[in-house]
């Protein structure tokens, strides 16, 4: 395994290509690096000062040791900068610049020279042709992403940098946080598998998300992702699944897209969870990061019949087990619910359900042995007390910490505060019951795999 400490937790960073020029990648990197806690050195032979800070003409002029160099200069200048980094004994470099294997024969040749140089000098190389890396848990943003996302337990490794940008933007001000975001570009030196091995041992990462268009070495990816997925969930979104999509992939990245059916078979065999949409990737990530595994059947609790039926439909389509209620459960439910309630799974506690009714029925369901977790649905009716219900759910989750609870509540003006309370207590909420079911399915697949 490669030692990536200087990549993910550097003490000193040199930015080669630091600039004041508005709208440039170099200035974006300056902003992001300054938001962190590392000691910075700006390198630019043409500008004396960047952001009022004196620049160096070359990394060789820096007196202190440099753990990580971030390189954002035109492709034609990259090799000489890397040579200097080698001389300076920099430990790791990120080459942001594009103009390598992804552009054709000229770039491919340049990339080969870059690889040769990096191996000779014993450098770790991230990229080229990438957005960079972000490590919110070490206050490091060595990328030109639009912002730094909140810290959390999710690692996101992406073949597309722009896709990370969008994920970052939508995560701002929300409750889902990230340990690490890696845009790995052309994988000239460090590859996807190296990052997976790092994340496997990274204590701040609980769930690994992957966006892939193709892999460089399928067999190695299979072996390593299989090993990592034994202890940490890996959720994968793969693009290039259709004929036209596959063609789009080959023009997007330097990788060759293979048969999607074989990819999907490899994912399944390696114990990865494959999802169809970006939304699903994030939904499942939230569930896996916050909730325990679903080890038995699923109970559904609702105050609206329609939502209950939808949920059961989705759950059956996903092949989730939906246990009937035991005699004891039914007896207990009858004692506290009106006769208009349904006494089968999905349990409909009807529209006028009070907080007390939610509390009693949720506890009764969680007590039934073959119910391993509950999807709890709140439709917002005039008597629905979303905030009070949220507190009840959070309390009961503490009482039954081994059973996942996933909430479905279409987040609107009336429900905002309640939903915020739930998510603050790591109870994931989804707008649509299908999202909740997909999350329960992932929790159940992992329970069987591990």
């Amino acid at each position: 395994m490669r030692n990536l400490k200087s990549v993910f937790n550097p003490q000193t960073i040199a930015l080669v290509g630091a600039t004041n020029r508005p709208g440039s990648v170099g200035l974006g990197l300056v902003h992001n690096l300054q938001s962190g806690k590392q000691k910075l050195f700006f390198v630019n032979p043409y500008q004396k000062k960047v952001k009022g800070i004196k620049t160096y003409k070359s990394v060789l002029d820096i007196k202190e040791g440099v753990d990580l160099a971030v390189i954002a200069v035109p492709a034609s200048a990259v090799l000489s900068v890397v040579r200097e980094c080698g001389q300076k004994k920099v430990k790791s470099i990120i080459v942001i610049s594009s103009g390598f294997a992804e552009i054709g024969p000229v770039g491919r040749k340049r990339q080969e020279e870059l690889i040769k140089l990096v191996k000779e000098k014993g450098l770790n190389l991230i990229g080229p042709n990438c957005l960079g890396i972000i490590r919110p848990v070490s206050h490091l943003n060595a990328s030109f992403a639009p912002a730094t996302p909140p810290a959390g337990e999710i690692a996101f490794v992406s073949q597309s940098g722009a896709l990370l940008d969008s994920v970052i933007d939508q995560s701002l001000g929300k409750r889902l946080g990230f340990s690490t975001l890696i845009s790995y570009g052309n994988e000239a030196d460090l590859t996807l598998e190296d990052y997976l091995l790092f994340l496997e041992k990274d204590p701040s990462t609980k769930v690994i998300l992957l966006y892939l268009e193709g892999v460089k070495n399928g067999r190695r990816f299979f072996e390593i992702s299989k090993k990592v997925a034994r202890t940490k969930p890996i959720v994968v979104l793969k693009a290039g699944r259709t004929e036209k999509g596959t063609k789009a992939v080959s023009s997007h990245t330097a990788s060759l897209a293979g048969s999607d059916r074989v990819y999907q078979a490899a994912f399944k065999q390696a114990g990865l969870i494959s999802v169809d949409t970006l939304q699903e990737l994030l939904d499942v990530a939230k569930g896996l990061a916050w909730q325990p595994l679903l080890r038995k059947g699923l109970g559904v609790l609702t105050n609206g019949g329609g939502m209950g039926v939808l949920t059961i439909d989705y759950a059956e389509q996903e092949g989730l087990e939906l246990p009937s209620f035991s005699q004891a459960t039914i007896k207990k439910l009858k004692a506290c619910l009106p006769s208009t309630a349904s006494f089968r799974n999905p349990l409909d506690i009807v529209g006028d359900a009070s907080a007390e009714r939610y509390q009693k029925s949720l506890e009764i369901l969680l007590r039934q042995k073959n119910i391993g977790g509950v999807i709890i649905i709140q439709t917002i009716q005039i008597v629905t007390q979303v905030e009070k219900n949220a507190k009840i759910i959070a309390n009961l989750h503490q009482k039954f910490p081994d059973k996942p609870i996933v909430s479905v509540c279409l987040e609107g003006v009336l429900s905002q505060k309640g939903v915020a309370y739930l998510e603050k207590h790591r109870l994931p909420n989804y707008n649509d019951p299908q999202q909740a079911v997909k999350v329960m399915k992932a929790l159940s697949v992992l329970a069987k795999h591990w």
Binding site: R219, R261, V262, A265, Q269
Partner: protein, 214 residues
């Protein structure tokens, strides 16, 4: 790419304990008749030559031969094909009846040997109801593979059929996965059909494609 001939294929099948239907190849009808006496009717007669890949299209197969007279008629009918094709032989096989399954291997440029399992015969082309796994794999993975196809209920004893012996089927898939890994010169394998009838599971048609210059 060349198609392995019968003795070469047979050797591989034996080495990996792959259940091959009782088969032998002959150039004389007399010797063939002696073989049939041992295995019993009904039998199938096939022209076997390296050049013929799709026998059914060449009309080089006669099935459902139930007695000696029919056998001799069939032999005569196929004899012209035998004469006109180089290195051709006549293959006599015990005719099996049951559920038609299929298994195979293709080499993926990224992932190496990939094993396929599904319903056999024409179904494989029409419904593409197949499952795939990377070789090699365990019996547990083979079981997942078998249960993954939509037609799986057909294997469990659907409407008075005898259930297919899953243990044997799992062994077949696992052994196929090992063969694929041990023999990188083999580019493609096609067992179609494999006929399953309760505890009898037999590969009826096996085709191995090998790289020319290996």
């Amino acid at each position: 790419m060349i198609v392995l001939d019968f003795p070469e294929s047979y050797q591989l099948l034996q080495k990996y304990h792959l259940p091959w239907v009782k088969t032998a190849s002959f150039t004389s009808s007399q010797k063939a008749s002696q073989f049939i006496k041992k295995i019993g009717f009904p039998v199938v007669l096939k022209v076997n030559a390296p050049q013929i890949i799709h026998r059914t299209e060449k009309q080089g197969v006669i099935t459902g031969i139930n007695n000696q007279a029919d056998f001799l008629t069939a032999w005569q009918k196929l004899s012209p094909l035998l004469r006109e094709t180089r290195e051709a032989e006549m293959m006599v096989q015990k005719m099996e009846k049951g559920l038609e399954l299929a298994a195979g291997m293709k080499r993926d440029s990224q992932f190496g040997p990939v094993i396929m399992f599904g319903l056999g015969g024409i179904f494989i082309e029409i419904f593409q109801d197949v499952s795939l796994r990377l070789a090699p794999f365990s019996r547990k993975v083979a079981e997942e593979m078998i249960k993954e196809i939509k037609a799986y209920p057909l294997l469990t004893g659907f409407r008075k059929r005898k259930p297919v012996d899953l243990e044997q089927l799992k062994s077949l898939l696992v052994n196929l996965s090992h063969l694929s890994l041990d023999h990188p010169e083999i580019q493609e394998i096609d067992f179609n059909p494999i006929i399953a009838n309760g505890r009898r599971i037999n590969i009826v048609d096996a085709k191995f494609l090998r790289k020319v210059n290996f």
